[in-house]
């Protein structure tokens, strides 16, 4: 008696129970590979680095010794200064120009021009990081650069003059903008398209010009996207490596050697044979990135549902 009823109840109840037990399983299946890779190439190396940062070469707990030895190195403070200056140029340029260009692009009425420009902006982003820096090594050499006349107009006749130490923050920001901004312009453009045309129409009827629409409607609605861009750009910027490293190799060490903390970490590990101090520098970069991201998220209400 009870057996059939249990069977029936079981049969009917089973799918419902499974759904309740594991609701978004399709979503989880999609996320799972990412989580596996994140653990393998993100979490495990991070834990490994933290482990190294607090131990010495023999594996004994070293307290903050690795952090103090990194800070005491003659290259450390200049490297922080270099990256801070670079970030200033790069983040300001990114926010102002990306938002500005996205707004202009969105305001274009000619669809063909709009599509062409979007494609043009995106092209540099399609080049892999190192390859796009290689392009700039040619761009910055007045002897072979298509823009050589421009460089010479600034009084920069030779490659060593172009890459003088004082020019590096701006040069690196220009390279980073060229390689990275196109993708963000396209993202911002997409975000602008989500703003309801009714809202814009209403503003226009109320007599708002393009400037007021941008300032009072579009930019406030883009805020979360801008914050997202700044968080990622900040993390990428503090980890500056490929640009100065390639520049250093191309100039035979004249510019870009030990320029950023990330390069310093690399040098500690592989030139000075000091993996623990290298790990300490990388942990510092991680902490700075996390703190800044935390501040931006908290101040902007990034995760608030509208």
């Amino acid at each position: 008696m009870s057996t059939p009823s249990t069977t029936v109840g079981g049969r009917a109840g089973a799918p419902r129970a499974r759904r309740a037990w594991w609701p978004g399983r399709a979503g989880h299946a999609f996320v799972a590979p990412y989580v596996v890779l994140l653990i393998a190439f993100g979490v495990v190396p991070t834990v490994y680095a933290i482990d190294f940062a607090f131990t010495d070469a023999t594996g004994r707990f070293a307290g903050l010794a690795n952090f103090t030895s990194a800070a005491a190195d003659f290259r450390f403070v200049p490297a922080i200064g270099h990256v801070a200056l670079y970030l200033l140029f790069w983040l300001v340029a990114l926010v102002v120009l990306v938002v500005g260009l996205a707004l202009l692009l969105h305001g274009l009425t000619a669809r063909a021009a709009d599509r062409t420009l979007r494609f043009l902006y995106y092209i540099p982003g399609a080049l892999a990081g190192a390859a796009s820096v290689m392009v700039w090594l040619f761009m910055l050499d007045p002897a072979v650069s298509p823009a050589g006349f421009l460089l010479r107009a600034f009084g920069l006749g030779t490659f060593p003059q172009v890459i003088a130490p004082g020019h590096l923050p701006i040069l690196l920001a220009v390279i980073a903008f060229w390689t990275g901004a196109g993708g963000w312009i396209v993202v911002m453009y997409g975000a602008l398209n989500t703003i309801s045309t009714d809202v814009l129409e209403a503003a226009r009827i109320d007599g708002a010009g393009p400037w007021q629409i941008a300032r009072r409607i579009q930019i406030p609605l883009l805020r979360k996207w801008i914050v997202y861009m700044v968080i990622l750009a900040f993390a990428v910027g503090t980890q500056l490596f490929v640009e100065p490293q390639l520049l250093s190799q191309a100039s035979n060490g004249v510019a870009g050697r030990d320029y950023s903390p990330n390069q310093l970490s690399y040098d500690f590990a592989f030139q000075n044979n000091n993996v623990n101090t290298a790990a300490a520098v990388s942990v510092e970069l991680l902490v700075v990135g996390l703190v800044v991201a935390g501040l931006f998220v908290a101040r902007s209400g990034f995760f608030d549902a509208d």
Binding site: T55, R60, T158, G253
Partner: protein
Amino acid sequence: MTVKVRADGARTSGRARRRAAFMALGSAFVLAAAAACGSGSGGTTGGTQGGFREAPQTAGPLTVWVDSTRLAAAQLYQKQHPTVKMDIVTYDGDANGSNYLQTKVSLFNRTRKGWPDVVFSTQNNEASWAVQAGFTAPLNKGLIPQSTLSGWAPNANAPCTVNGTLYCLRNDLSQTVLWYNAPLMKKWGYEVPKTWEGFEALGQKVAAQHPGYLVGSAGDSFTPEIYMWAGKCGANQITGSRSITVDTTSANCTRMASLLDTLVKNHTMTMSSVFSSDFDKNQADKILMLPGPAWFGGALFQGTFKTPAGQVAAAPMPQWSGDPNPTVGNVGGGTWLLSAHSAHIKPATDFLTWVTTANDYQGKVAPGYPAYASAARTWLANQTASHYYANDISGPLQTAAGQVWSGWGYGQFSQEAIWAATVTPGMTAGKTVVSLLPAWKTAIANYARADGYKVGP
């Protein structure tokens, strides 16, 4: 050195120990493990006699790392010795400060496996870190007979020698000579200068009579090795295994620096690197004289600039007037290293000996001036037979090979990189070399300390 190797050896067992200690929390256990580490690493470093403990020998293939230029050497050896099993790997040769070899060796030291048996490096200061990392095997303690080793040009293996023990073999020499355009010198009625004072005076004359023409280049990272080294400016001396002294403001340094300043100022010495597109495009056909290493002849004039035959000639480097001991500088010159971890010491040593001394490769095929003297004679005869040069370059090159000044220290830090990052940008910004000498000194001391050297007065 021994201490550092011991630390490396202790690292793996130390990690395992720490994990166990977390669970057991026994201090006695820690002590016992530490003692075990100490004795274990004592075994891996061997005695302090300079010998080393060989890894268990096996019959597997000989792993050889070479750069693309030296690939021909490994392939020729394989062809002549078909019974030797070889695994030839090409890599960047550690060139241009890539540090590839050091990076890999430090990773192999962590995993305790993977080291190649024999490595070619384009750098000549590899011994400075490779000995410390426990990677290179001592060669003059029984592996290679002294009768063979005495065949190298005098001082050729100095960069490979640490505390009297030889840790690598020099592939080629890069002694500097004075390259010049023979027909042009003759046409303008100039004498090839024998002294630095004469060199400077001729530079002044060229600036006045033939502006645009060059007597040298000061724009390369190896500028200090051509001028400062040859002019006996010993910017740094290695005084012990981990101690150095730095002096960039001695009389010889200052007078060479002011010579460079004079010639840079009157534009007879360019600030462009001889390998830059700017130089190739605008200045390569304006060379009257160019002090530089032996390989300038083939690699630069013949290969890069495509200077026609019958123009380029070589003369001995200028000397300070009244100096009875002629000396020259040196720019690079690759080295061969034998791994102390090799499980094929015998075939590896055979290959190493062949590749550095055999006439078949060094004398007839090698692009650079062989460090092994008898191969160098064959090589020079071949160069003369090519009729590319305007004079017989064998005399100046052969003499210079024995005159490389021994007062220039081969540290773990790269002298080229330090000059490039410190002095070159200042010169580009219009500062004089003389005014940059103190900054050069500070930079050398800083980089030396970062590599663990004690910097003396």
